[in-house]
C-alpha cells in the first residue's frame, strides 16, 4: 500500500528496510526528522550525538565493525564532520556507511547557502540525490549497496523542499543484514602516512571505476522528448522542470557525483540546446564544460535561492506572470511569548554591551525591538569571538562584551572555545542560556536533558560543574525570568577579571505548557517600556497604551517587572 511520507521519513524508512543497525546524528533543519523517524524502529540503534563530528565517528565505528550505519546532518554540519569524513573516504567501509546531508537553498533555516555537492567531489565520495519521497527511500537503500560494493561512504543529498515535502511511498519489509566479520587490517583502517599512501591510490581507482559504471546506472535516466531543448537536472528541481517544460527532453541525474559523462555526451549530441537547471553553484555545468560538453546554466539561473517552476518558464519559455507589488507589514518569526531568552536580551540591550551571539532561538535577539546581538557566525563561535575581541582590543573592550550561547550549542562546540579562553588567560563573560532543550530545531534532547533520542533516561551532563572543572574563575546560576538578578550578575561579572560563566536557567516556554494565568493591564501610562520586550502578546493600541492578548500570554511576568507604573498585574 502506498502511504504519504515526508522525504525525511522516507529516508529513515529506506535505511530501516536496508537493515541499518546504527544511526548517529546531531539535529539540524532540514535533516532532523530522519533521526526522529528512525528512532521509532526497535531494530535500529539511533542516537543524538553532541555534534556532527562525533556522530560521524560513531557511524565509522559501526561500519568498521561490520554494521550498516548512517549519519545525518544539515549542510553546515558537514563542515563540522569534514575531518573524519575525508579520511573515511580513504579507509572505506566494512558495513555500508551512508551520510545524509541536507542542503538549504533559499536559507529557510540556515546561516549560509553552501552546496554540499562540492564535498562529494573534494572528498571523493559518491553522492545520490532523490527527487521525491519514493526515490528518497529507494536511493537510501541503493546508497548502502553502493557503499559496500565500492568500499566507500556514500552521500544521500537532499534539499529543504525534498526533506519537507510529502509524497507517496510504497513500503517493503526490512531485510536484516548480519554483521560482516571484522578483520584487523592496518593498511585499511589505520590511517598514517605509510598506509594512507596506499589508500589514496585505492580511492582514485575506485572513483575511476565508479565514474565508468555510473553510465550504466538506471537512476541516471534519459527522457527523450522534443529534441530542441535538453535539460540536465537532479533532485526536486527535476519535478519543477517536468512541470514547467513537459515537452522538453530531460537527463535526470540520480548520481550527482561522479557524473556519467558518456551518457551526458550522448544526450548533448541529441538535443539542439543543452541547459543545466541546478540550484546553488554551477556544479554540473562547470564539469560538463570541463569535459567539452557545451551548455548553458548560470547565465540564466541564479546561484542564490531556490529555482521555481515560474523561473524556468520565464527563462526558457519567456512566460511572464502578472503579479502585484505589495507593501505589507512583514511577519518574521519571533521568540515565543514567555521565552526564557527574552529577559536576558532585554538586559543586554539595556546595558548597551557588544554581544557575540550564537545559533539557536536566541539568534532572534538580533531583531527589533531587542536588537541585542552584534555577531553570529557558526555554532560555538560566540566564545572564540569574544576571546578574539579581548585579545585584540583589550580589557576595556571585554568589559563591554558578552558572549551568549544556548545549552545545546555550548555542548556542540562552545566548550572547546571556553577551554581555550581559560587556558589563554582571557577575561570574557559568557552567558549560557540553558532552556533544557535544542529549541530551534524543534526540541530535541541533548546530553544535559536527561533523555536520549529514544526517550530513554540518561545521565545528565552538569553544565555548571563542567564550567568549573575546566577552570572558569566564576560560574553563577541565575533564573532567566529574574531580570534584576540577571542585570546585577552581568554587571558584576563584566567588572570581574578572568573567565566568567553565567548559566541562565529556565525551560523553553513550549516544553511544559501548564502556564499561569495571563497578565492584565489597567491604568497604562503609555510609557512604552513593555514594548521593548518584543513579546508577541503585548500589543500597542492606537492610543499608545498596552494591551495583553490573553490567548497568547503565558504569564511569565516579565512585563510586570518592566512596568514602572504597576499597570501590569499577574493574573
Amino acid at each position: 500500500m502506498k502511504k504519504l511520507m515526508l522525504g525525511n521519513e522516507a529516508i529513515a524508512r529506506g535505511a530501516y528496510e536496508a537493515g541499518v543497525k546504527v544511526v548517529s546524528a546531531y539535529p539540524g533543519t532540514p535533516s532532523t526528522e530522519v533521526s526522529e523517524c528512525i528512532a521509532r524502529y526497535d531494530e535500529v540503534y539511533a542516537e543524538w550525538a553532541p555534534n556532527e563530528k562525533v556522530a560521524f565517528e560513531v557511524a565509522i565505528g559501526a561500519s568498521f565493525v561490520g554494521a550498516r550505519s548512517m549519519v545525518c546532518m544539515k549542510h553546515v554540519g558537514v563542515n563540522v564532520a569534514a575531518d573524519p569524513m575525508f579520511t573515511a573516504a580513504y579507509t572505506g567501509v566494512n558495513g555500508g556507511l551512508v551520510i545524509l546531508a541536507a542542503d538549504d537553498p533559499g536559507m529557510h533555516s540556515s546561516q549560509n547557502e553552501q552546496d554540499t555537492r562540492f564535498y562529494a567531489r573534494s572528498a571523493h565520495i559518491p553522492m545520490l540525490e532523490p527527487s521525491d519521497s519514493a526515490e528518497a527511500k529507494e536511493f537510501t537503500k541503493l546508497a548502502f549497496e553502493l557503499s559496500e560494493k565500492y568500499d566507500t561512504p556514500v552521500f544521500v543529498r537532499t534539499t529543504t523542499r525534498l526533506a519537507h515535502s510529502q509524497s507517496l511511498v510504497e513500503t517493503a519489509e526490512r531485510r536484516e543484514v548480519p554483521l560482516r566479520p571484522y578483520v584487523k587490517d592496518v593498511s585499511k583502517y589505520t590511517m598514517m602516512p605509510s598506509s594512507a599512501i596506499g589508500r589514496h591510490v585505492a580511492v582514485e581507482a575506485r572513483e575511476d571505476k565508479l565514474a565508468a559504471d555510473v553510465n550504466f546506472f538506471d537512476v541516471n535516466r534519459e527522457e527523450m522528448n522534443d529534441p530542441s531543448l535538453g535539460i540536465v537536472c537532479s533532485g526536486v528541481v527535476y519535478q519543477y522542470v517536468k512541470e514547467a517544460l513537459p515537452e522538453a527532453s530531460v537527463f535526470k541525474l540520480g548520481v550527482v557525483y561522479p557524473l556519467p559523462f558518456g551518457r551526458l555526451r550522448d544526450f548533448a549530441s541529441k538535443v539542439e540546446r543543452l541547459v543545466v537547471v541546478e540550484e546553488l553553484e554551477p556544479f554540473f555545468q562547470n564539469q560538463l564544460k570541463a569535459n567539452g560538453i557545451d551548455c548553458e546554466g548560470k547565465n540564466l539561473f541564479s546561484k542564490q535561492g531556490e529555482i521555481s517552476v515560474a523561473d524556468i518558464r520565464l527563462k526558457l519559455l519567456g512566460e511572464k506572470l502578472d503579479v502585484e507589488k505589495q507593501d505589507l507589514p512583514v511577519r518574521p518569526p519571533v521568540m515565543c511569548a514567555g521565552c526564557p531568552h527574552r529577559g536576558v536580551f532585554y538586559i543586554l540591550n539595556k546595558l548597551k554591551v557588544t554581544v557575540s551571539a550564537d545559533i539557536g532561538c536566541y539568534t532572534l535577539g538580533a531583531q527589533p525591538p531587542l536588537c541585542a546581538v552584534d555577531t553570529v557566525v557558526c555554532m560555538g563561535a560566540s566564545v572564540g569571538i569574544a576571546h578574539g575581541f579581548e585579545k585584540a582590543a583589550g580589557r576595556e573592550q571585554s568589559k563591554r562584551t558578552v558572549a551568549v550561547i544556548g545549552d545545546s550549542t555550548f555542548i556542540h562546540s562552545g566548550i572547546t572555545g571556553l577551554i581555550n579562553a581559560v587556558y589563554n588567560k582571557s577575561n570574557i563573560t559568557l552567558v549560557i542560556l540553558d532552556n533544557s532543550t535544542t529549541g530551534m530545531t524543534g526540541h530535541q534532547q541533548h546530553p544535559a536533558t536527561g533523555l536520549t533520542l529514544k526517550q530513554e533516561p540518561a545521565k545528565i551532563l552538569d553544565i555548571v560543574a563542567l564550567c568549573k572543572t575546566v577552570g572558569c574563575d566564576s560560574v553563577r546560576v541565575v533564573d532567566s525570568y529574574d531580570l534584576a538578578e540577571v542585570e546585577k550578575t552581568l554587571k558584576e561579572e563584566l567588572a570581574a577579571d578572568g573567565v566568567s560563566v553565567i548559566v541562565a536557567k529556565r525551560p523553553c516556554a513550549l516544553l511544559d505548557r501548564n502556564y499561569p494565568a495571563p497578565c492584565t493591564v489597567s491604568d497604562c501610562r503609555k510609557c512604552g517600556m513593555c514594548f521593548k520586550l518584543g513579546c508577541p502578546a503585548i500589543e500597542k493600541q492606537a492610543d499608545g497604551s498596552a494591551k495583553i492578548n490573553a490567548s497568547l500570554c503565558v504569564g511569565c511576568g516579565l512585563c510586570e517587572k518592566v512596568c514602572k507604573f504597576g499597570a501590569i498585574k499577574e493574573g
Binding site: L4, L6, R161, Y240, V309
Partner: protein, 190 residues
C-alpha cells in the same frame, strides 16, 4: 479530484494538521498528492505556508505564483500577503482573525484595513469564516484549523462523510469527537 490549495497562517495555528487532513482526503479519493510544509522553526509567530497539491499526477510539490486554485488563510493579513499565488478567479477561504505581527505590535507599521474588500478585488470568491468565534463556542481554540477545513470542503463540493473520514484518519482518536463538531460547524457555514 484536482486542486492546488495553499494554506497560509501564523506559526502555531495548526496549518500542518490541516494539510494532513487534505492528504488523507486525497488518499481516500485515490488521487496522487504532494504536500510541502515548513518545519524546524519552533518559535511561533512567523508567516507560514503549506502547499497541498492533489491531481492524477503531481510533479512539483510547491505551488507557485498564480498557481493556487484556493488559498485557505488562517489569518487575514496572511491571506493578503499570498494573493499573488492565486490563479485568476480563484477562491479564498479566510479566517476572520487578526494576529498582529511584530512591526505592528511595536507601532512601526499599521495593520492594514479593509482586507476582506481587498481580497474580494483579487479573488473570484471570498468566504469569510469566523473560525475563532466558532472554536471558542466549541470550547477548544485549537479547532480553528478544522473549522476552516470544514468550510473549505463544502466549497470544494466534497460530501461531508468523505471529509469526515479524512479527519478521522488524520487525528488522534481521542481528539476526533471535538474536531468532528468543528468540522460540521465549518461545513455548515462554508
Amino acid at each position: 479530484m484536482k486542486a492546488n490549495i495553499l494554506i497560509v497562517g501564523v506559526g502555531g495555528q495548526g496549518t500542518l494538521l490541516a494539510s494532513r487532513i487534505l492528504g488523507a482526503l486525497a488518499d481516500l479519493e485515490g488521487s496522487d498528492c504532494k504536500l510541502s510544509e515548513v518545519h524546524g522553526m519552533s518559535q511561533r509567530g512567523g508567516s507560514v505556508v503549506t502547499n497541498v497539491k492533489i491531481a492524477d499526477e503531481v510533479k512539483s510539490p510547491i505551488i507557485g505564483l498564480r498557481d493556487a486554485d484556493i488559498i485557505m488563510a488562517f489569518e487575514k493579513l496572511e491571506a493578503l500577503r499570498y494573493t499573488n499565488y492565486l490563479k485568476k478567479g480563484g477562491v479564498i477561504v479566510v479566517n476572520d482573525q487578526e494576529i498582529l505581527p511584530m512591526p505592528v505590535i511595536t507601532g512601526a507599521r499599521k495593520y492594514p484595513e479593509h482586507i476582506v474588500e481587498d481580497l474580494r478585488e483579487r479573488a473570484g470568491k471570498v468566504i469569510v469564516v469566523p473560525a475563532l468565534a466558532i472554536a471558542e463556542e466549541i470550547g477548544n481554540l485549537k479547532t480553528v484549523n478544522v473549522v476552516m477545513i470544514g468550510a473549505l470542503a463544502k466549497n470544494l463540493g466534497i460530501p461531508f462523510e468523505k471529509i469526515d473520514a479524512a479527519l478521522k484518519a488524520a487525528v488522534k482518536p481521542k481528539l476526533y469527537e471535538v474536531n468532528r463538531t468543528a468540522l460540521q460547524r465549518g461545513y455548515d457555514i462554508g
